[in-house]
């Protein structure tokens, strides 16, 4: 494009020059495609390996990529690795994409990958948790610039899933970089679709398109990611036209946005399953008593009939339709529909208060008992209302339930001190066997099982199937085993599944986005329509 002020032969006065500069800016503004997105989570650090929290990773995945990627349905697809296969039970080989370059022009090689796999363990003061994704790795061997072999400590089928969470940094730039080098953009050099432009902590990150990206060229040459955790403010910024897209649309605003013909909402079932953990290890769990407040002689949650009664007493479709305002799908599985290991044959338990009462009588509690239900009030969609509704439904069949809702920080503190016996948790995962390992396997520090199995449910049969699944490098075999283990755990009600959340995005009417099960918001996947 040519602009008048590029014609140098005619001398211009200072004012004219300024005017021209302004015109150029205006013209550039009109021609350039910019996408402004409102994110809901606080980004704490731009270092992609410092903290494995979704807001940080959302931002990081614009700049960095991982070996394996996942599609909108959480199924694995090639990322920086074109292919991978298990050579034997303990060795995976990754063939890296050729011709990929970092933002500074340097080539992407197996050395960068090997470096990125060990770096999480060496970051000073990082509460990150990325080490969990490389715990199975015994060693890595760089075969050539584009081939990498990873030896695992034990047969491990979920390595491709785990490595999806490890973003590949440039060895050259990250080697001696501190957190401030990432925040200033110096070390923020990846292979991804967008490059660092400007960052204001707690406010926004501005990015420009990486014109040499190997993937399909994104429609936007500039992207601004605004950090707006307050729900009403995020909606207001979209309504006023300051933003083009917002993620996690507040449930109360969806109806109004859908009525607005300049905007539209797109949504899908998220991978986040909301569930209730039940104490299954103490004879007298805290908060559980008979109707007069005296301790019971046995822990009622250990009785499958009581667990089934609780499940039958909960009206999942009413919760999904009314409390969640449509932002939930009743759950019967440990993972969301479409996720690896999902069993479509399992159907959500229908609401059956009479059946629940019968089961309670059979179990020896014809008049019910008292429990305390604990949970967060600032973490999941309408979490406190869900707790209140469950409590009312349980009280209706005789289980007098008191709700103790607290901010996530205080709630988790109580859980860790083992002061709760009936508690709500939300969980998202790529695969049923991975979920089982954290939520259902008996807590075992050595093996790393059951870190979030608050009720200490233990079932050797489920665990052995889960171990076989995780140890299987044949994906079909692994999925069948994971499905079987998950089904068994759900039939035994290791925990009470409530619902899978629905995740939503609101955007300008002329934009399109394929909603992602993993809840990620990626500027490069938005298209004009």
């Amino acid at each position: 494009m040519r602009y008048p002020c590029t014609m140098k032969h005619r001398p211009l006065t200072k004012h004219l020059r300024l005017l021209c500069a302004a015109l150029v800016l205006l013209a550039a503004g009109a021609g350039a495609a910019e996408l402004r997105i409102g994110l809901s989570g606080e980004v704490t650090s731009l270092d992609p390996q410092y903290l494995a929290a979704q807001p940080n990773l959302t931002v990081a995945r614009h700049v960095f990529e991982s070996l394996t990627d996942v599609d909108t349905q959480t199924r694995l697809i090639p990322g920086l690795a074109e292919r991978w296969r298990a050579i034997d039970a303990n060795t995976w080989e990754f063939n890296l994409r050729r011709g990929v370059k970092f933002h500074d022009g340097s080539p992407f090689t197996a050395d960068d990958v090997a470096f990125s796999l060990v770096r999480p363990l060496s970051i000073k003061g990082s509460p990150g948790g990325f080490a969990a994704f490389v715990r199975a790795v015994a060693s890595t061997t760089v075969v050539d610039a584009h081939t990498l072999r990873v030896k695992t400590k034990y047969p491990y089928g979920a390595l491709p899933e785990d490595l999806n969470s490890i973003l590949i940094v440039s060895k050259k730039h990250a080697q001696n970089a501190g957190p401030e080098d990432f925040d200033s953009g110096r070390a923020l050099v990846g292979t991804g679709p967008y490059k660092y432009l400007r960052y204001q902590r707690g406010d926004r990150l501005e990015l420009t398109r990486n014109e040499h990206w190997w993937g399909k060229t994104p429609a936007w040459d500039k992207v601004t990611l605004r950090i707006l955790p307050a729900d009403p403010s995020r909606t207001a910024a979209l309504l006023s036209g300051e933003l083009d897209v917002i993620e996690h649309v507040p449930s109360a605003d969806i109806k109004n946005i859908n009525k607005n013909n300049k905007l539209h909402v797109t949504q899908t079932t998220s991978w986040r399953t909301i569930l209730l953990h039940l104490d299954q290890y103490r004879t007298q769990p805290p908060g559980v008593s008979d109707l007069s407040g005296k301790p019971l002689s046995a822990n009622p949650f250990m009785d499958l009939r009581v667990r089934r009664a609780i499940s039958k007493a909960i009206n999942r479709s009413a919760i999904a339709e009314r409390v969640m305002e449509g932002l939930a799908v009743p759950a019967a599985n440990i993972v969301s529909p479409g996720v690896f290991g999902y069993n479509s044959a399992l159907k959500a338990e229908p609401y059956d208060p009479d059946g629940a009462k019968r089961l309670l009588s059979e179990a020896g509690y014809p008049n019910g008992f008292r429990v305390t239900l604990a949970g967060p009030n600032n973490r999941y969609i309408n979490d406190e209302q869900v707790l209140q509704t469950v409590a009312q439904l349980l009280t209706r069949v005789g289980i007098q339930t008191r709700v103790e809702a607290a901010p996530m920080s205080a709630f988790l503190g109580r859980v860790r001190k083992e002061e709760t016996s009936f508690a709500l948790l939300g969980w998202g995962s790529f695969a049923a066997d991975l979920s089982l390992r954290s939520l259902v396997a008996a807590p075992n520090t050595e093996k790393g099982y059951g870190a979030w199995n608050w009720g200490r449910y233990a079932n050797p049969k489920v665990e052995s199937l889960m171990e076989q699944a995780l140890g299987s490098v044949d994906r079909n075999k692994r999925e069948a085993l994971a499905r079987e283990a998950g089904t068994l755990a759900m039939q035994d009600l290791a925990f009470i599944p409530l619902h899978h959340q629905v995740v939503s995005w609101a955007m300008r009417a002329d934009l399109a986005y394929v909603p992602r099960t993993d809840e990620f918001t990626f500027a490069h996947h938005f298209t004009p329509r």
Binding site: P127, A132, S409, A410, L412, S438, A451
Partner: protein, 324 residues
Amino acid sequence: MLSYVLRRLAWSTATLFVMSLLVFAGVYAIGNPVDLLINPQADQAEIARATALLGLDRPLWEQYWLFFCGALGGDLGISFAASVPAITLILERMPATLELALTAMLIAITLGIPLGLLAGLRPRSWLARSIMALSTLGFALPTFWVGLMLIMVFSVQLGWLPTTGRGATVDVFGIPLSIFTADGLRHLLLPATTLALFKLALLIRLARAGTQDAMLQDYVRYARAKGLSERAVVRSHVLPNILIPIVTVAGLELGSLIAFAIVTETVFAWPGMGKLLIDSINVLDRPVIVAYLLATVCLFILINLLVDLLYAVLDPRVQAGDTQ
């Protein structure tokens, strides 16, 4: 005077010490930040490793002792969530909050004193009644609601002003400030008005009460008897006399403005210290919480000292230090 300042400093140091101790123990009692920060796939070993890395596995007294030694050297610890020194995070956000609070105070003073004066001079007029109604609303309406309403009207419906965020900044002596750019002012207007509303209501009441009281005083009567015009009476006799309590309150309220800014900052996504505090409390980022509260206490102490000194300037009868 010097002994007065020294005494104040000693008290302040003690306050800071007790504050840090309370906050430290309080955050410790709530829970382990690692549980909140760590990725859910992490196993027990990884949680233990991260806890040890942050020094959270040590006994509370030892953690405090390490913090205390660091604090003496000016090191308030490193943020768990951001891996940046806590004090850096706070200083980075401080200009935004101070800018917002001072603008709000400016709005409250420049509107509040004249309006209060007007209402006090003719308490029975309809103007006075409307001013008082406005002030009642200012007291009664919750800040977050006012903020959201202003956003809905001026940003969403009318489209005149931006909804959230801070505008473009320019560096003034190395401090990024947004009050000197047009874009910055546009962004500042709504949050500053929201924040000012309560203080405006308060100053109107103070100025009105002061004026009504002063108008009955002998010196006003004498001034009138001297043949001064009503305007001159108000300017040189009423106004200076009502300013003393107003300065005291305004000074104290400036401190609370900085603290109250939390709600406004959250609604308007204003990247100030208040928003940082909320985010830090949500993940139990103790170094930032402690550093924030210490910084706020320091700010309060400083403001109180300045108010005392200003007091002495305004009223020659008062000498700083005459507190007994």
